[in-house]
Amino acid sequence: MASLDRVKVLVLGDSGVGKSSLVHLLCQNQVLGNPSWTVGCSVDVRVHDYKEGTPEERTYYIELWDVGGSVGCASSVKSTRAVFYNSVNGIILVHDLTNKKSSQNLYRWSLEALNRDLVPTGVLVTNGDYDREQFADNQIPLLVIGTKLDQINETKRHEVLTRTAFLAEDFNAEEINLVIEKRYFLREGNQIPGLPDRKRFGGGTLKSLHYD
């Protein structure tokens, strides 16, 4: 057990976008049957074989910290949430493809999470406006996931996907668009690509995955 190192990944996003379903999917390889509101933070653990099949193979525990709440709530709740943002190795930003506001709020979510680490260096961000400079020297890998792809009409899919591609580029993050459906399935968990495994991500490549 001692050889399994800790990797802490935050899962952030607006209320109701599907973070708990996503975390449940990644860790238990099952679809969450009855999602309910997350109060505070719920954690789940995924065992991941880094560089599987090579001599450098190591097994890591990836802790997915699913932080609940909305980005505009009382500052007392924000201060309480800040206690979860310590020593983070990666951030997954989740937004709902059917709700434009949730993707706009991602900027504020990432600022909230990253500011926690910027404060010791004396950089004080006073306004919540998005500024690409702030993400330029960000060392923490970001992944943007868009959910509920199946609920968008076939005709509108293209424009939605192009909009989210711009979003991912702005963050300098990699992007995945998913469908988390309520059908039972059984899948080998190791095949999910793009999970943060301590490498830096670059570019804005677009991937569309379906779990059938």
Partner: protein, 455 residues
């Protein structure tokens, strides 16, 4: 000619109110959501616009603006439209959106929403039976029947809100009730929270590893099927899965604990902020206001009790009473007619503005607390319904605060309602609400510091 001018004035003001309701909806209520059904936004703004127009007509009545007959006409029309909205449109659309959320009934949405609306009408009608609100000489579908029932619901809401508000306001303003919270308290709680999260993580790690080993051996131990398989599974159980259920139960308990710790920490942060705020100038001002409001609240409760016990309803309004007192006892002579008009305008104006503002703020708070992305449409419609009923009954009750000569139009338009009943009903519900809020706040206040005093 003057009728046209008056109507155009009314119309422009209605457009203005509509725009205000629209902006409020977009920027306050639906801040975090995307508006997909514009019907909801339109209905909300329309309800708001027509409610505000009613208040505007009262103000015009006092100030004597516009022609008297056109005022009367607009009153009737406005009332008619608002009743139409509150009794027909909003309940129907609420039912429609509720039904749309349920997947099973998606195909026959219209049918089921009509059914829902009919059940609503049935209960709405039944509401009028136990109350002595009408004389039987009115027809079935007259305005009086509808208004009386809407009035009952609205007055109940008003009394509940103002009872709770009267007690809660001094409680939040005054710093006497603030619990003492130090940095150390918060840090201890945060540490406990993180420790609980770590414990959850270590248990989940064990579960994940156990699941992986089971899965890797999984081909052999498949889920037993058939009759003999069931018998076998009773005696020979896979050891891994037993451990898993045990650990899962521990994890559930720990997760519940972490949720509670999170809420407590948020509570402590909020209290600490309030302590900081109370040291500022604004905080001190509110603290002083709090004392003033607590006296006002006690006086109101006292008056409500007196009214109920001695079964009296105030005959004169505060404006005339005040003027009488100043003229008779203090001997100050001034032009009664002129001043009574202006003072009642100011008084009624203040009442209207504060009640609109208070209601909108309360509605926004409720909306943030209970809405989710699925139910936001339904909740906004319910809020629009509450808002409309609230404003209609405000008109009923505001009649008491106006001098006699201005009351006539409300009495004329609303018909022969038993206004005294509504005031009595308001007093009763206000008393009940205020007393139970005091009890509730007392219990909540008692329970909280004991939790933090345990080492």
């Amino acid at each position: 000619m003057s009728f046209l001018v008056d109507s155009s004035i009314m119309f422009t003001s209605q457009i203005f109110f509509f725009g205000f309701g629209w902006l409020f909806f977009m920027h306050q209520l639906f801040k975090d959501y995307e508006v997909r059904q514009y019907v909801v936004q339109v209905i909300f703004s329309v309800t708001f616009a027509f409610s505000c127009t009613m208040f505007e007509l009262i103000i015009f009545e006092i100030l004597g603006v516009l022609n008297s007959s056109s005022r009367y006409f607009h009153w009737k029309m406005n009332l008619f439209i608002i009743l139409l909205i509150l009794v027909f449109m909003v309940p129907f659309y609420t039912g429609y959106f509720i039904v749309s959320n349920i997947r099973l009934l998606h195909k026959q949405r219209l049918l089921f929403s009509c059914l829902l609306w009919l059940t609503f009408m049935y209960f709405f009608w039944k509401l009028g039976d136990p109350f002595p609100i009408l004389s039987p000489k009115h027809g079935i579908l007259s305005i009086e029947q509808l208004i009386s029932r809407v009035g009952v619901i609205g007055v109940t809401l008003m009394a509940l809100l103002s009872g709770f508000g009267a007690v809660n306001c001094p409680y939040t303003y005054m710093s006497y009730f603030l619990r003492n919270v130090t940095e150390a308290d918060i840090l201890t709680l945060e540490r406990r929270l993180l420790q609980t999260m770590d414990m959850i993580i270590s248990k989940k790690k064990r579960m994940a590893v156990a699941r992986r080993t089971i899965f890797q051996r999984g081909e052999v131990h498949e889920k037993p099927s058939g009759f003999w398989g069931m018998i076998r599974s009773v005696t020979v159980s896979v050891p891994g899965s037993e451990n898993l259920t045990l650990i899962q139960q521990e994890v559930d308990a720990l997760e519940e604990l972490s949720r509670q710790l999170f809420l407590e920490t948020a509570d402590l942060y909020a209290t600490k902020e309030r302590i900081e705020y109370s040291k500022t100038f604004k905080g001190k001002y509110f603290n002083f206001l709090g004392y003033f409001f607590s006296i006002y609240c006690v006086w109101k409760i006292f008056m409500a009790t007196i009214n109920i016990i001695f079964d009296r309803v105030g005959k004169t309004d505060p404006v005339t009473r005040g003027i009488e007192i100043t003229v008779n006892y203090l001997g100050i002579q001034f032009d009664v007619k002129f001043w009574s008009q202006h003072i009642s305008f100011i008084l009624v104006g203040i009442i209207i503005v504060t009640s609109i503002r208070g209601l909108l703020i309360t509605l926004t708070k409720f909306f943030y607390a209970i809405s989710s992305s699925k139910s936001s449409n339904v909740i906004v419609l319910l809020l629009a319904q509450i808002m409309g009923m609230y404003f209609v009954s405000s008109v009923l009750l505001i009649r008491m605060s106006m001098p006699l000569e201005y009351r006539t139009i409300i009495t004329e338009v609303l018909g022969e309602l038993q206004f005294n009943f509504y005031h009595r009903w308001f007093d009763v519900i206000f008393l009940v609400s205020a007393l139970s809020s005091i009890l509730f706040l007392y219990l909540a206040h008692k329970q909280a510091p004991e939790k933090h005093m345990t080492p």
